[in-house]
């Protein structure tokens, strides 16, 4: 293999197509990922609470949703949202991009709901007992005692979910919806330079995911320190215009 030729090709592709990779591909990939994780978190929180409901039937439906989504390939789910749902609901005049975004949200929500549920259940049961023994109601206990502690279990896992979804958006390129992998297909197809373009997009993916995973790791470490709560409280005190502890 002629490496110098390969480097020249990569350089050429970058100068000629950088906007296709970055302005189109990375932009759309980020948009898809952010939408999927944000809405996935909102919807996933709801599912998490349904899964912890005291009514068996509600728990059952939440479980079915989670198991179906987590037990089938995301590519299959994308097919369903891309081919079947638009047929079933012809009145919903969504673009392909939107259908794919919805599919990713639905997928992400299932995973996020499990992240949230396990984050909540990982909070020591004694915390709930102590709060209830003081006379706090179930809801008060959840809001003031359990959730603030669960957040530190949940946030790092959500960061990992963000990285997962970011990579999984590449499957959406099956439908040419303009993500980074679509950019690769366009450029590689036009220039007949598969390997070179693969190296470029691979590097771009890595450049995004690697710092993110480092950030998640740093965050996890910080969360393990008991004093990290202090900063959170200090921020809250500042926001409330309150006085900061003397320390």
């Amino acid at each position: 293999m002629d490496f110098s030729q390969m480097f020249q090709n990569i350089f050429r592709l970058l100068t000629e197509y950088w906007h296709v990779y970055l302005l189109e591909g990375v932009k759309n990939t980020m948009i898809l990922t952010v939408i999927a994780v944000l809405l996935g978190t909102v919807f996933g929180s709801l599912v998490a609470f349904l899964k912890m409901s005291r009514f068996k039937i509600v728990r059952f439906f939440a479980s079915v949703y989670i198991e179906v989504i987590r037990g089938t390939p995301i590519l299959l789910q994308l097919y369903v949202f891309y081919f079947i749902l638009p047929e079933l609901f012809p009145l919903l005049n969504f673009t392909d991009f939107i259908w794919v975004a919805i599919a990713l949200c639905v997928n992400s929500a299932a995973y996020v709901s499990e992240i949230i549920r396990s984050g909540i259940q990982a909070v020591d049961k004694g915390q709930t007992e102590a709060a209830r023994s003081l006379g706090l109601s179930n809801t008060q206990t959840m809001l003031r005692i359990v959730l603030p502690q669960a957040v530190r279990n949940i946030l790092p896992a959500l960061g990992n979910e963000f990285i997962m979804i970011l990579k999984e958006t590449s499957l959406a390129s099956t439908f040419f919806i303009g993500d980074l992998m679509t950019s690769h297909k366009i450029v590689a197809g036009a220039e007949y330079l598969q390997l070179e373009s693969q190296i470029i997009v691979g590097t771009i993916y890595l450049c995004i995911t690697f710092p993110l995973s480092k950030l998640v790791g740093w965050f996890e470490k910080r969360m393990a320190n008991p004093n990290s709560y202090k900063n959170h409280n200090r921020k809250r005190a500042l926001m409330a215009g309150g006085r900061i502890g003397e320390k």
Binding site: D124, G126, Q127, E129, A130, A131, R132, S133, L134, G135, L136, S137, Q140, R144, I145, P148, Q149, P226, N227, Y229, K230, H232, N233, G245, E246, K247
Partner: protein, 242 residues
């Protein structure tokens, strides 16, 4: 005056019949210690008193009200029953002060200023005033347990329930916690204490209950229980622990 009364209290965990019809009355101002072998039902009995465990059968009366009845707002009654746990269960995301003031403020028993004033007063009593703005993660086990005690006291309860308050502590910290409990019961606080500290139980209790095999097998003054035990199970238990 009757403070807590249980009638025919039953509790099972699966096939395990943990409480087999306990009848007991705790009077106002009384200090009652509960001793007995592990797995005998001491903690379960205590945790039933504020319904952290729901009994399958039987009745619990608190201050004349049946809290096991339907349509009872247990949260309201729990405000009057302080509880201290073996594992402290202080709130790690709140400062020492917030640990104490959270419940009184949330449940509208005190204004923020009153609650804060009381927190300082209580912390001062247990020698933790300088920890006011610390996070509980920086406290020792003994300090955490003292914090847990004053957190419960901040609700101005009518009765305090202690569930093996020193069992999770390093030996050198047991004393400081027992001293706080001693100080508290000397003020006349009605207390029910599950404990493995026999000398402590003998010293502070008005009455001692020996619970084993799911029921109270013997009860009496510390003198009777520790020096003239009659039930063979109690005699055997004391031989082992003393």
């Amino acid at each position: 005056m009757e403070m807590i009364k249980t009638v025919d209290l039953h509790k099972s965990f699966g096939d395990l019949h943990v409480l087999t019809g306990v009848n007991e009355t705790i009077h106002k101002g009384e200090v009652v210690s509960i001793i007995g072998p592990s797995g005998g039902g001491k903690s379960t009995f205590l945790r039933c008193l504020n319904l952290l465990e729901t009994p399958e059968k039987g009745h619990i009366f608190f201050d004349g009200v049946e809290i096991t009845g339907k349509k009872v707002d247990i949260d309201l009654h729990r405000q009057k029953m302080g509880m201290v746990f073996q594992q402290f269960n202080v709130f790690p995301h709140l400062t020492v002060e917030e640990n104490i003031t959270l419940a009184p403020k949330m449940l509208k028993k005190k204004t923020a200023a009153e609650a804060s004033e009381m927190a300082k007063d209580l912390l001062n009593r247990v020698g933790l005033l300088e920890k006011l703005n610390e996070m509980p993660g920086n406290l020792s086990g003994g300090q955490k347990q003292r914090l847990a005690i004053v957190r419960a006291l901040a609700m101005e309860p009518d009765v305090m329930l202690f569930d093996e308050p020193t069992s999770a502590l390093d030996p050198e910290m047991v004393g400081e916690v027992l001293d706080v409990i001693k100080g508290l019961v000397s003020t006349g606080m009605t207390s029910v204490i599950v404990t493995h500290e026999m000398r402590f139980a003998e010293e502070i209790s008005d009455r001692v209950l020996f619970i084993a095999d799911g029921n109270i097998l013997e009860e009496g003054t510390p003198e009777q229980i520790f020096h003239n035990p009659t039930h063979p199970r109690l005699q055997e238990f004391l031989r082992k622990v003393l």
